[in-house]
Every structure is written in C-alpha cells, then in structure tokens.
Amino acid sequence: MLTKISGGHVIDPGYINARMDIWIKDGSIFEVCEEGKGTLESSSPDRIINAAGKIVVPGLIDMHVHLREPGHEYKETIETGLKAAVAGGFTAVCCMPNTKPVNDNAQITSFILEKARQAGLAKVYPVAAISLGLKGDSLAEYAELKTAGAIAVSDDGMPVSSGRLMRNAMEYASCFGLLTIAHCEDHELACNGCMNEGSVSTRLGLRGIPNISESIMVMRDIELSDLTGVPVHIAHVSARESVNAIREGKKRGIKVTAETAPHYFTLTDEAVGNYDTNAKMNPPLRTETDRLAVIKGLEDGTLDIIATDHAPHSVLEKELEFDKAANGICGLETSLGLSMKLVHDGIIGMESLVRLMSTRPAEILGKDNHLKPGNNADIAIIDPDAEWKVDSSKFQGKSKNTPFNGWDLKGRAVMTIVDGRIVFEL
C-alpha cells in the first residue's frame, strides 16, 4: 500500500516547515521530500491525497482525556472517545485512570488497550493510577501496569494529599520509566468550592476555589521533583501562580513539564454566567489575569503542551444545581479550533502550535512523533482557514457538554491518518 500526500505545507517543528510531499508505505513514513522530487515519483501510489493549501503535521497527541470506559459507558466509550479524538486531528490520547473500576491494575489497562485496538482509530496510551482506587493510601503495582502497557501514572481527579505518597510514587514509577502526572489541588483549601474564588463567585453565592489551592501543590510537586530527580508533569494548569512556579522551577533546572487546556486560555469565570454548568470544571475557569498568564506561559515555553482534559458527562450530571453538577467539558473536537485562535491572533506561530499539540507531548511521553522515514504514519491534515461553527449535537463523542456550542472557529482537522490509514475525513 503506497500513499502520497502531495503539495501540503508540512510543519514538523524543528525539522520541516515547507511545501513537501509525504510518501507512506505500509503504514510507515517512507519519505518526506520536495514536491515532485521523491525517489518513488515514478511509481504509481495506490492513493494520492491532495493537501494543497493545507497544513500537514505529525498527528496531534492529547495527553489528558477521560474515556469513561469501563464503568461510565453512557457518557463515553473508548470507541466514541476515539471518534471524537480523530475528528479533532488527534492520532493518540492518554486516558486517565478514573474509570470504574479504576485503572489501577493490569487487567484494566489490557482491557482499555484491547478496546482501543478494536476501535482502530486513534492510539491510546493508558495512564494508570498512582494509588490503589485513587484513594491515596497505597501504591498501585507499577511494574505490572507498565508491562500491560501503561505509559504514566496519575491520580487525576483526585489530588494526592500525602506528600510522602507522592514522593514515593515518583521515585518508584521512575524505575519503570513511567511518567508521573500530577493533579495539583489542595483539597482543604479548595473546601468544596465549585468555581473560581473571586468577585463572580461572591456575586453568585457559590463557594470559591482559590488559585493557591492549585499552585501550592504545584510548588510541592516541583520540590518533590527536585528532591527525587524524577520528572513530574503538571496537569491542567489554570492559575497564574502555578505558571510562575513552573517557570521558576524550569529556571532552576528541575524536570517539570506542564499542560494547560484551551478553556483556560479562552474563557474566564465570567463564563459561568447564570449558573451555566457547562462552564463548571476543576480546576475552575479563572480570571482575565490568569488567562493572560496562561497564554504567556504557552508563549515562552513555561507551559509545554495543550491538552484538553476531555471530560464527557451526560445531562444527568450536568442538568443539575451548579454546586451538585459534575466537573468538566468535552474538549477533543474543539481543541484545535480554539488553539488556532492563538495563531490567528498572532500570539504564537503555527510551528509553535504544532509543537504544543503534537511533538512536545510525544517527547514528554518518550515517543518519537516526527515525520521521519520509518516512523508510523500518524498524520493530521489541517485547514487553517476553514471557518466552522461548533455544534455539539454533531459531536462524534457521546456527550455534549461544552461551553463553546455555537462558537465560530477558524481552523480544523480535515483528515486524520493513523498508521497510514485514513481514520477521519471531513
């Protein structure tokens, strides 16, 4: 099977930024070459994909999604989650362990990978639990989880309150090459809050979550990384104090990496409006100052990547009193369009965006995602100027919870290729 992606503007940060052809042979990249100058030019490909006017990039990788299976299949299944992923240009996703049962053992990890294989869409890199049952009392069996295919450990959704457990988790995970991903939240300071603490929460009479309930734990985990010498990846950064702490940590040479999500650089706590539960998430939407600090962090490399924290919920969890509604929004299908706004607004270049959404997540996960001969052909083709309206009723995922319904966005994936197969085409 021979495929040629012809005439697209190929962007592979640090390697390629030019109009090129890509030849794919049997699922792998065979050659990336000047237009019409490939060594296979004289042979006739089985398929030619015309990418003129489009941007061709290494497939996007979302380091933070919730696929809900096993346990909450009514919100999302691995298959529907992966449909949403490929529709967003993602060729791989990391799925968090807060399923039911929790992914804290090899059987669940294997189950997830088997379901992902059956779906045959985007790749799945399972993130296993740090602690058994996400309870924060004892370590999960990392060796067995690694063997089963886990790529990292995290108690996402539940903060690891014990500093000692977190330290030991980082040290123990490192000997199996598992990345530790930290959901940074001081439960006591968050104190049952349901939105950002500030003038909006005061006006609405909702319990607030202060910025430092996040940043204080970011600081702790940076110090633990310094102590242990083990890398730590900070999930979903929302607060300016966290951005500052990570910037300082990096300056000190600590192996800290971090992600933010499109909603944190697009919205503020004003989006809660009159108790709109689609704007309820954890960490919560913050203020304009935080939003700008997050953008600055993306600009100067303090924040390494854009992830989505894709958190599908049914109306059963969202059509409720604000304080009782579930946290989270669907992110996979709007992430690229929202992030492209940073490019269209001239804040970052397209190459930086590809780094944030594709090659840097791969590096952090220890994967090589570059468009190099021999690598798997995981590719996204993006139309940077496509104007489209978010219509949650047309989401490929099962759930529709998004604060962006009806938004006009510019830029989206028009084709997603995994191992040389077209898994999504607009």
């Binding site: 603490e197 500030g198 003038s199 909006v200 929460s201 005061t202 006006r203 609405l204 009479g205 909702l206 319990r207 607030g208 009159n274 108790y275 059963l316 059509e319 409720l320 009193e321 604000f322 304080d323 009782k324």
Partner: protein
C-alpha cells in the same frame, strides 16, 4: 406599571422603578392585614406552590399567609416529602411541578442558582425564597420597605451590614437593593466572613464593626450560624459577641435616630444583645409583618396586577 420579568430571582434583575412599584404595592397590602377579615379575592383559583427544599418555618409561613390572604390555593412541598430524597433530580421536580400547572412557585433551596434553574424550565412565575449563599430578594425588599417606612426614603442613607457576609444571601441581596436605591452600604465582620470582591457588588468594607456602625442610619445584624464554628471562621461566641456583636455601647456610635434590623431568627447575646433586640429602635418585628405585605404584593404583581384587590 407592571413587572417586566415573569420571575423574582434576585434584586439585580429588578429596576429602581420596579422596586418602587413593589414597595408601593406592599404599602397598600398592609391595610388588608389590619382588617378584621384579612382576606381579599384577587388570587382566587390561582395555585401557588411553596417548594421548600431547605427548612425555614418563618419564611414559609410568611409566604403561606400572604397567599391565603389573597385567596390563592397554596400547596406546600418540602424536600423530605418530595421525590428528591428518592433520587429524583431538580429537573424531574421542575417537570413534575410544570405538569401540575401552578401559577407561582416559591422556591427555597440550599444550592445557589436553583431558582434560576427551575425558572428556566417552567412557564410559571418563580419567586426565589432564598437560594444557597446567593440571594434572598424578598427579604431585601421587606428590609427596604421597613427602612423606607422609618426613614421616609432610601437614598442617601448609610446602612451598616454586620456579620457573616460571605455566607449570607440576605447580605448580598441587601447590598444590591440598597445601593441600587441610592444608599451607602458598609459591611463589617471578621475577615474570615468577608468574601473576596464584595466591593464589586457595591459595598464598602469597613475595618471594624465600630467603624461600620459609626454614623449609620440603619444597623443590620446578620445571624451567626453556630454550626460554622468548625469552619474556623471565629473562635467562640463570646469573642464574637464582644468584637462584632451589637450592644448599647456600640449602637451609640450610630446616628442618633438609627434603627436596628435583623432578618431573624436571632441569637440573642451573640450577634445582638437582648436589650438592643427589644429596644425602641429595633424594627425586627415590623420586618416580620412587612414580610407578609411584601409577599402579597409580589404575588399580585406577578399574577397581573392589583386591580381587583378591593372587590368583594
């Protein structure tokens, strides 16, 4: 003039004119409450549901009396008797209520925003009878009514609101209401009880209770919820009473003709000393009777006006 919206959810969505209309209408209702036969027919055949998801004997009684004096059929629904304890959601409850075709629903709920949620799903008028820490518009309106009676006006007054501002829906609605009508609202209490950004609602934060009370025309004390002591908000009732409670000595700092208010029920000896609660400057009991008149006014205005109040 009529109200522009179908619901009374908070003070911020009412205009100055609407507030004046409500207060004027409530004044007319007071007279009915003094008649030997305290019942007029304008709401005959109308159904008012009192849906109290959070217990409150006083507020519920006030709404109930108001409904009955206007000849409406009032039906009470408490959380414990509703299906919500059996796992029904608020949306289910809203739909069930809608199917019963009520005209007005009064809702009291422990979650901020629950009345907004119900109002969105219902054709009936919704009155917020107090939601979480968010709003208590009928309390604020009856407080404004009580102040206007005593002071003859609302603009240019200094209103001191003292106590747990952070957790008080009464404080929020009163800040919105009095500032909208031209008063100055100063809040005070322990810093653990002053929420971030309260200034953005129009209140000034005083450094001490004494400063807040100084020159005030109205001193409004808020109820301290004793069960909040576990939240590290204040060390003891004794210390609270001394530093933040209203006593004769502290009241001397207020304007000579200052009045004292409290939304009730009071913790005597904690936020308010007993002699102050019962003194001639206290309008606490008038607040209660104005509450009935005010709620009658809202029922009338929401169901289309006051035309036939005096028909028999």
């Amino acid at each position: 003039m009529q109200l522009s919206g179908k619901d009374i959810l908070d003070i911020s969505s009412l205009s100055m004119d609407e507030i004046n209309l409500i207060l004027d209408t409530a004044e007319r209702m007071k007279e009915i409450n003094q008649r030997p036969v305290k019942k007029v027919p304008p709401l005959k055949g109308k159904t008012i549901v009192l849906f109290f998801h959070e217990p409150s004997t006083r507020t519920k009684l006030s709404f109930d009396i108001a409904a009955k004096r206007l000849s409406a059929d009032s039906i009470s629904m408490a959380a414990s008797s509703s299906s919500m304890v059996k796992g029904e959601t608020l949306l289910d409850t809203a739909k069930t209520l809608e199917a019963m075709n009520p005209d007005i629903i009064v809702i009291r709920h422990s979650s901020s925003g629950a009345p907004h949620f119900i109002a969105k799903h219902l054709k009936a008028s919704v009155i917020n009878g107090g939601d979480g820490m968010h709003a208590h518009p009928t309390q604020a309106l009856l407080d404004m009514m009580s102040v206007r009676q005593k002071k003859g006006r609302l603009d240019g007054l200094k209103i001191a609101v003292i106590g747990d501002i952070a957790h008080s829906r009464v404080a929020r609605s009163n800040i919105e209401g009095f500032t909208k009508m031209g008063s100055e609202v100063v809040v005070a209490g322990p810093p653990t009880m002053i929420p971030i950004g309260i200034e953005s609602m129009g209140a000034r934060v005083a450094y001490s209770t004494d400063e807040a009370v100084k020159g005030a025309d109205v001193v409004m004390m808020l109820r301290i919820q004793k069960e909040r002591q576990g939240d590290f908000l204040f060390p003891s009732e004794r210390e609270y009473a001394r530093e933040f409670g209203l006593n004769p000595k502290r009241l001397e700092k207020a304007a000579p003709d200052a009045i004292v208010m409290h939304p009730g029920p009071m913790n005597r000896g904690v936020e308010i000393s007993s002699d102050i609660a019962d003194c001639g400057r206290s309008v606490i009991l008038e607040q209660v009777s104005n509450g009935v008149a005010l709620r009658m006014a809202l029922f009338l205005l929401l169901s289309g006006g006051v035309k036939n109040v005096d028909e028999d």
